[in-house]
Structures are given as structure tokens and as C-alpha cells.
């Protein structure tokens, strides 16, 4: 794996490595279910501390970009498709919140609102 690290930059090495791996996962250069090199191998290849690589893998896991499968190693999960779904949900959540608050305010029930949303979807589909 070609990774460029500049130890003499103001940005810590773990952060440089994390950003480059994250970018490769999100952009799909590292495919879902692809195995990442072992901590030992990557640290040997990049000539950096073992603990630094371990820290980066932990960060990737906590961001939901990688997972450790016991006895097998660390693998890419998610990737671009899954992450954009999460992002989209986040974006639409505030609009949904607004609609629900407005409906409650007007005393409309859930069923009525869902019917309206369905109608709207169908209208846009017909207009194509």
C-alpha cells in the first residue's frame, strides 16, 4: 500500500495515516471486505511505531470504517454506499422533525401524514 507520511509535519503521524486510509475506504479504493495489512506488517512497511498503526485501526473501527475479525485480521466495512446512506438520513432527519412537529401542532395523526407523503411521492413519479 502506498502511503506517504511526513513525520516532520505539524500533524501527528497517526492522523496523517488515518486520513489517508479513511479517504481510500470512503472513495472505494479499498473495497468492502478487503483485508487491511496487519498492524505489524504496516508498521514495518511504513517504518513507524506499532502502536501508531494500532491506534489508527482503532480509530477506523470507532468510525465504523473497519472491523477486527477475531483471528483473521482487520477488514474494511461499509465503504461509500453505506456511509452515504447514513449521511442522507442525517440530512433528512431535520425535515422529518419539522413535518412531525407541524402535524402534531395541527392535530393531524400519523396515518394522515404518511398518506400525504405517499401522494407526494406518486405525483413526483408521474411527473417523472
Amino acid at each position: 500500500m502506498f502511503i506517504h507520511l511526513n513525520p516532520n509535519s505539524g500533524m501527528p503521524i497517526y492522523r496523517q495515516l488515518f486520513q489517508q486510509l479513511r479517504q481510500r475506504i470512503v472513495s472505494g479504493q479499498l473495497a468492502v471486505n478487503e483485508q487491511l495489512p496487519s498492524v505489524r506488517d504496516l508498521s514495518a512497511e511504513l517504518k513507524i511505531n506499532l502502536l501508531t498503526v494500532a491506534k489508527v485501526y482503532q480509530l477506523l473501527e470507532s468510525e465504523g470504517l473497519a472491523e477486527t475479525r477475531r483471528g483473521l485480521g482487520t477488514f474494511v466495512v461499509g465503504g461509500n454506499e453505506m456511509h452515504s446512506v447514513v449521511e442522507k438520513r442525517k440530512l433528512i432527519a431535520s425535515a422529518v422533525e419539522q413535518v412531525v412537529a407541524e402535524a402534531q401542532h395541527l392535530g393531524m395523526d400519523e396515518g394522515e401524514v404518511i398518506k400525504l407523503i405517499r401522494q407526494r411521492f406518486e405525483e413526483t413519479k408521474r411527473k417523472g
Partner: protein, 296 residues
């Protein structure tokens, strides 16, 4: 086993009435590579000699691998490797004879590691020590310390006199050693770019006192140079008491300080009606900012 491979408590040492190391509290986690930095005369070598059990502290406690250096048994010494700043090797011995001679003192001697390092450093074992360059002689000293398979390796300026390529190879060896679990390395160095590449913990000593001892990542993420400018009401009365460096001109303030989180910085700037700009620092910058005598 203790979680610290090296631990000192309030260690003080003077020479001829002047204090060289004062109240030193050093903690080196097991399994870490600790870069020990300081200017010449800051107390680095004195500290390292105390850790190696070559000189005693006037007061305070030291534990290396869980044992006070003054109580080291032969077995304890097997587990601690040490290469001094000026390692003196018998100049008349051939490298191979020196290895055989030294190996006799250590029951767990790693002959395979010797071969590997000789090859990696391209050292001819049939040469006599006196015919080696200074850099190569240091590599031999390093090889001897490594082949005893220590738990803790203490290196005083190991990379001095080595050229760039030899230094990289040396660092690779240090990392290889560490990849064997639980090994701890403490090394002092002037070459900060090397330290930055391999160390995970950094200690900075100045005037005999330990100014910094923490992870390199934290150091880089929190020590910042900040330029305050565009003061609406002038710079008078603007102070940051715990800044590492602080200087003022007629309309600007430059400070090096800990920025744990930017909110406090924003609050400071808004209370003084000014703008600020953050300048990230690399290890060399941070080192200079911390050890430099403060300007008035």
C-alpha cells in the same frame, strides 16, 4: 510486572555543588519508545547514567525494570541494555572476537541477531575495532547491547556519527526490537526528525528539570503557536501566564501555549477584542519553543 519500565521519583544529582538534575519524575511505559530530548548540559547524560546504574542520585528513587540500579544483580543487568554516548570498545579486538567475548557474559545471547545486524550494517567481523569508522564502531556497540536480548534498552545519542542511511537502518532495528512484545527503548538524540519518526513518548529536559513527558501525538495536537492581531483596543494588559513563550509588539502578540480546545482561545480573543491565527508546530519547533529561555 509494573506498567513502567523506568520510573524515577524526585531524583536530584549535583556535581561540584551545582545541581545538574533536579526533582526528576520520569515514567517510561513498558513497550514504548521514549525519546529523551534536551540541549547539551541539560542533564540528559547524567540521567541516563543514573538509570544505567553508573552513578547514584543524591536523593530520590529510581527503578528500572522494577529494580533500583543500586540493587542490580547480574541477572537484572542481563535484562537492561545500555550504550553510552562514548562507548569504548577494545580497539585491538576483531569484531568477531569482541562478540564472542561479550556473549560469554550473557546466557541468552542472540547469535542470529548478531548475524542479521552485521549484514544489515555491512560490518566485516574480521576487522579490528580500531580500523572501523566512528559510526561503525557505534553500530557494533549497539549490536552488542541488542544481542543480549534486553527488556529495556537505554541508548545515549545512538545515532550520533551515523549518516542518514545508517540512521534509518538503525531505527529499523530499534523498531524490530520493539515489535517483540514488551520491549522498551529510551534514547536520547539531537536529531529531532529521527525522534519524530519513531518515538511515541517524548521527554524534554531543560536546566535539569523535566519540562514535558507525554505522547508525541498529544504534544503535536496541543502545543500551538498563536498570533493574536487586529486588537481593537491595543495589546496592553494582554497576558497568558502559563505560555511557553510570549512576546508582544505594538499591535501583535505571539505566544506558544497549550491549546486543549479552541473554545478557551476564542474566549480569550473575544475578551480582548482581537483576532487570532493558529500556527501548527513540528517537534523541532516545539522543542525550541519549550527549551528556549523566555524573552521579556
Amino acid at each position: 510486572m509494573e506498567s513502567y519500565a523506568i520510573e524515577t521519583k524526585n531524583v536530584t544529582r549535583s556535581f561540584a555543588g551545582s545541581v545538574v538534575v533536579q526533582d526528576l519524575n520520569l515514567r517510561v511505559r513498558r513497550g514504548s519508545i521514549y525519546g529523551f530530548l534536551g540541549r547539551n548540559g541539560a542533564g540528559k547524560t547524567t540521567t541516563i547514567k543514573m538509570l544505567a546504574g553508573l552513578i547514584w542520585p543524591d536523593s530520590g528513587e529510581i527503578k528500572v525494570n522494577g529494580v533500583a540500579p543500586s540493587q542490580f544483580t547480574v541477572e537484572d543487568r542481563w535484562k537492561i541494555g545500555y550504550v553510552s554516548e562514548r562507548q569504548i570498545l577494545n580497539p585491538f579486538l576483531r569484531v568477531s572476537a569482541l562478540i564472542k567475548f561479550t556473549a560469554g557474559f550473557y546466557p541468552h545471547w542472540d547469535f542470529a541477531a548478531c548475524e542479521r545486524i552485521l549484514q544489515r550494517f555491512k560490518i566485516d567481523p574480521s576487522k579490528r575495532i580500531k580500523s572501523l569508522s566512528q559510526g561503525t564502531a557505534r553500530q557494533v556497540a549497539f549490536l552488542l547491547a541488542l544481542a543480549q536480548k534486553p527488556d529495556v534498552l537505554i541508548l545515549d545519542e545512538p545515532a550520533a556519527n551515523l549518516d542518514v542511511v545508517a540512521r534509518r537502518e538503525f531505527l529499523d532495528e530499534v523498531l524490530d526490537l520493539l515489535r517483540q512484545d514488551g520491549k522498551t527503548v529510551l534514547f536520547s538524540s539531537h536529531i529531532l526528525s529521527d525522534v519524530e519518526r519513531v518515538a511515541d513518548e517524548i521527554g524534554i529536559i531543560a536546566q535539569g528539570r523535566l519540562k514535558i513527558s507525554e505522547s508525541l501525538d498529544r504534544l503535536k495536537e496541543t502545543v500551538r503557536k498563536v498570533r493574536f492581531h487586529a486588537f481593537e483596543k491595543g495589546v496592553n494588559g494582554f497576558v497568558i501566564p502559563d505560555a511557553f513563550q510570549f512576546s508582544k509588539t505594538r499591535d501583535e502578540v505571539l505566544a506558544t501555549l497549550r491549546v486543549e480546545d479552541e473554545t478557551s482561545l476564542r474566549a480569550l480573543a473575544s475578551s480582548h477584542r482581537c483576532q487570532y491565527e493558529i500556527i501548527p508546530l513540528n517537534l523541532e519547533d516545539i522543542f525550541v519553543e519549550i527549551v528556549r529561555e523566555p524573552k521579556d
